[in-house]
Amino acid sequence: MMTYGLEVERATVRYGTFTAVDEVSLSVAPGEILALQGESGSGKSSLLRGIAGLEPLASGSIRWNGTDLTHTPTHLRGFVLMFQDGQLFPHLDVAGNIAYGISQLPRREREARTAELLVLVGLEGYGKRRITELSGGQAQRVALARSLAPQPRMLLLDEPLSSLDKGLRERLVGELGTIIRGSGTASIYVTHDEDEAFTLADRVGVLKDGRLLRVTTA
C-alpha cells in the first residue's frame, strides 16, 4: 500500500557498536507536524540525521510517497534540516544564505522569493546584513527562512529554539508553528521540551534509548 508523505520503517542508526536509533518506524503526512520529544541522548537527533541522509541506516528504510530514498544522497532528497545553532554560512550575507537553496532560479525570482521570506520571518530589509551582526533569535529566523526557501517536501527541525533564552523561546514557538503550518510542508520537530512539542505539533512521539515509545495526538 502506498502512503503519502514520509514513511520510516524500522530505521536503525549505529555508531560503531552503539545503537543510537533502534528500529524506529513512523510516518508524517504532507502538511503534518510531528514532534519528537526525548532527553538528550535519546537518539532523536540521530534519527533526524538518518532521515536527512546524513547518517547511513544500518537497517530499515525511508520512503517518500512510496519511493525508496534509503540510499539517495542527502542533496537529492528534498528534506531540509534546520540545525540547533542555525549553521548559517559565515561568508554569505543574510540574503545569500536564504537564497542558497534556490540558486537554480532566475535572479529576479530568487530575489523576490528572498524578500518574501524575509517578510515572513519578520526581518524585512535585513538582506544585506552580515551573519555576525545578528542576534541569536534573528539568526534562527534566517535559518528558518533559508530552510523554507527551496519549498522542501520535508522540513526537519533539530531543536531550533533550544539555544535561545526562555522568554524569546516562548515568543518564537507560536510564530514558528504558524510559519511552518502556513508552508504546508511535512515537518518533524525535535525537542526535549514537552510543552513546546504539544504547542506546535499535530502528534507527539516520545523517544527513549533509541526507541519510539509512543505517539500521541496533541
Partner: protein
C-alpha cells in the same frame, strides 16, 4: 509548487536501493587521494627506495659492505656526532630564546607588537642560502663581527639554525600561551607562589605540549639542514646532509652517499615520529585552550622583554642589515655597483647572468607552487573528511603520515634519489627542467598540507550538511561553502609553496643543469668563489632573493590576514 513536488519523477529516477546513488561521492574521494599518492610514489618513495637499495647493492649482488664501510669509518661517526650536536644545540637555543619571545610577542600586548611578530616570522621563510650568506657577511674576517673568529665554526652554524627556527617556537608556543587562562597564575599567586614559581609550576606544564611539539619540529629541521651548513660550516663543520653532497659531487662515491642517506633516513624518521606524537598532543592542548587573552606589560615581564629585544636586534636583524649594507659596498665606495653586475655572468664564472637565473627561479617556482597547491589541496580535501568505515579511517591515517614524510626526508636525499632513478626509461627526465619544480613541489607539499588542513578541519561539518540538505551536491558544497571559507589558508599555502620553491637549494643543487641554474644555486656558486666581485654579486643576489621571498610572503599574509595559529 515545490521543485521536489514538480520533479516527483526525478525522485523515482534514483532507482530504489541503487548503489551508485549512495556511492556517488566516493570515486571523487578516491581520485583525490590517488593522484597525490601516485605522484608521491613516483617522485618520492621510488627515488628514496632506490637510493636505499643502492646502499645495499653493488651492481651484482646484495651486500652490507657499503654500509659497513661507511659505518666503520671514523669520519662518518664524527659527522653523525656533529649532526646530532648541531641539532640539539639548535633546538635548545631556539627554545631558550623562543619561549620568552612567545610570551612577549603573543601573551603581552603593546604597540608595535604586530611589526615585531612580522620581523620574527621573516627568517623562517628566508632561503637557506640567503641566511648562510647573511651570517657569513656578519661573521667573516672582513665582516663587523670578524674579530670573533666564528666563521666556519659550530657556533656560527648553531646561530644560523636558531635564526631560522626562532619563529617556529615563538608561533607554536605563543598561540597556546595566549589561550591560557590568566586566572590560573593569579590563583597560584594568591596561594603564595612568587612569579618564578607560578611560571614553573603552572604556566610551563600547561605550555609543555606546544614546547615539545616545537622542539621536535625544530630538531627535525636542524638535523636535515643543508644550505646554511654548507655555506657557514666550511670544511670543519658538516652534517650528514653536506657529507652526502660532498661524497656525490666531489668524490663521485655514490655507494657511500647512498649508505649515508640511509643513516640520515634513520635520524629523520625517528625525529619525525617524535614530532608527530608531540603534534597530536599539542593539537589536543590547543583545542582545550580558550580564546586569546593578552596582558599589559608588568615588572615580571621585563627580563623576557629584554631577551626578546636583544634577540630581534642581535640575532634576527643584524645579519640581514649587514647583508644589505655590505651588498652596497663596492670597490669605489657605496653604490649599486654589485647590483649592476647581476646582469653579467661574473666574468665567465657563471653560465648565465644572475637575472637570467632569477627568471629561471620564478618560472620553476610558479610551476612548483601550482603542483604543490593542487596536490596539497587534494590531500587536505581527503584528510578533512571523516570516513565511516574502519578501512577508510586506516587509509586516512596512513595518508596523513605519508605526506608528512617529505618534511623530514632531506631535500638532498630527494635530489640524489631523482638523479639515480629518473635518468632512464621508463621515466627519463634527466634532461628535462621539469624535474626541478617536481622536486621543489615534493619539498613544499607538507607545508601546504599543514597550512590548509587545519583551516579545512575547522570548517564545521554541519555547514556542509546544511548545504547538502538545501539541495547542494558535494561539488557545489565544495565550491560555494568550503572554498570561500578556505580562502585565507589557501593564500598562505600559495605563499609558502612559492617561497619554499624560490629558495629551495638542497634538491635543486643536485638537479639544476649548468645551463639553467636557479637563483639560490647561483648565489652558492658566487659565495664559494674567491674575489671581491664574486662576493659582492653573491651579496646582491642574496638580497634580491630575500626580497622576492619577502614580497611573496607579505602578499600571502595579506591574503591570509588575521590567521594566527601554531605550527
Amino acid at each position: 509548487m515545490s521543485r521536489y513536488q514538480r520533479s516527483g519523477a526525478g525522485a523515482t529516477t534514483t532507482r530504489p536501493g541503487s548503489l551508485w546513488a549512495a556511492a556517488s561521492f566516493k570515486p571523487v574521494w578516491a581520485i583525490a587521494a590517488l593522484i597525490p599518492l601516485a605522484f608521491l610514489a613516483v617522485f618520492f618513495v621510488w627515488p628514496v627506495l632506490a637510493l636505499v637499495t643502492r646502499g645495499f647493492y653493488d651492481s651484482e649482488s646484495w651486500t652490507l659492505t657499503n654500509v659497513a664501510e661507511v659505518l666503520g669509518s671514523a669520519r662518518t661517526w664524527r659527522i653523525i656526532r656533529q649532526t646530532l650536536t648541531l641539532a640539539v644545540l639548535g633546538t635548545l637555543g631556539s627554545l631558550a630564546l623562543g619561549v620568552p619571545g612567545a610570551y612577549v610577542l603573543y601573551r603581552l600586548s603593546f604597540r608595535g607588537q604586530k611589526l615585531l611578530r612580522a620581523i620574527a616570522t621573516v627568517p623562517f621563510v628566508l632561503p637557506s642560502v640567503v641566511v648562510g650568506v647573511a651570517f657569513r657577511s656578519l661573521l667573516a674576517d672582513s665582516g663587523p663581527l670578524g674579530f670573533l673568529k666564528l666563521d666556519g665554526t659550530l657556533v656560527a652554524v648553531v646561530a644560523a639554525l636558531v635564526f631560522f627556527n626562532y619563529s617556529v617556537v615563538v608561533r607554536s608556543v605563543g598561540v597556546l600561551w595566549a589561550g591560557l587562562d590568566p586566572r590560573q597564575v593569579e590563583a597560584a599567586a594568591t596561594l603564595g607562589a612568587p612569579p618564578p614559581r607560578a611560571f614553573l609550576t603552572v604556566t610551563l606544564p600547561a605550555l609543555a605540549p606546544a614546547i615539545a611539539s616545537a622542539a621536535a619540529l625544530v630538531f627535525l629541521f636542524c638535523a636535515s639542514a643543508f644550505g646554511v651548513v654548507l655555506i657557514l660550516g666550511g670544511s670543519r663543520t658538516g652534517t650528514v646532509e653536506t657529507e652526502i653532497w660532498y661524497q656525490t659531487t666531489a668524490l663521485l662515491n655514490l655507494p657511500a652517499a647512498a649508505a649515508l642517506s640511509i643513516v640520515q633516513l634513520v635520524i629523520v624518521v625517528a625525529s619525525l615520529w617524535l614530532s608527530n606524537t608531540a603534534r597530536a598532543r599539542q593539537e589536543r592542548a590547543l583545542r582545550l585552550a580558550g580564546s586569546p587573552k593578552q596582558l599589559p606589560i608588568t615588572k615580571t615581564g621585563i627580563p623576557a622583554i629584554c631577551c626578546t629585544a636583544l634577540t630581534v636586534a642581535g640575532l634576527l636583524l643584524a645579519p640581514l642589515l649587514t647583508l644589505v649594507w655590505r651588498s652596497l659596498q663596492t670597490r669605489t665606495g657605496l653604490g649599486f655597483g654589485n647590483y649592476a653586475l647581476l646582469a653579467t655572468n661574473a666574468n665567465g664564472n657563471l653560465s648565465v647572468s644572475v637575472w637570467r637565473a632569477a627568471a629561471n627561479s620564478l618560472v620553476t617556482g610558479v610551476v612548483a607552487m601550482l603542483l604543490a597547491v593542487v596536490l596539497g589541496g587534494c590531500v587536505s580535501f581527503v584528510l578533512s573528511r571523516t570516513p565511516v568505515s574502519r578501512w577508510g579511517r586506516t587509509l586516512l591515517r596512513f595518508t596523513d603520515s605519508v605526506f608528512m614524510l617529505p618534511l623530514g626526508v632531506s631535500a638532498v636525499t630527494v635530489g640524489f634519489g631523482f638523479l639515480i632513478t629518473l635518468n632512464r626509461p621508463p621515466l627519463d627526465l634527466r634532461t628535462s627542467w621539469i624535474l626541478i619544480p617536481i622536486a621543489q613541489a615534493i619539498v613544499a607539499l607538507p607545508l601546504v598540507v599543514r597550512t590548509l588542513l587545519p583551516t579545512w578541519r575547522a570548517i564545521d561539518p554541519r555547514l556542509r550538511e546544511a548545504a547538502a540538505t538545501l539541495g547542494a551536491s558535494p561539488g557545489r558544497v565544495l565550491a560555494t561553502v568550503e572554498l570561500p571559507l578556505l580562502s585565507r589558508g589557501l593564500g598562505l599555502a600559495v605563499g609558502f609553496a612559492f617561497a619554499t620553491s624560490l629558495g629551495e637549494f638542497g634538491a635543486t643543487s643536485f638537479l639544476a643543469r649548468p645551463d639553467r641554474p636557479t637563483l639560490p644555486v647561483v648565489v652558492y656558486k658566487l659565495i664559494s668563489r674567491p674575489g671581491v666581485d664574486n662576493l659582492g654579486m653573491a651579496l646582491a643576489a642574496a638580497v634580491v632573493l630575500a626580497l622576492a621571498t619577502a614580497i611573496v610572503m607579505a602578499l600571502a599574509e595579506l591574503l591570509g590576514r588575521g590567521e594566527e595559529r601554531g605550527w
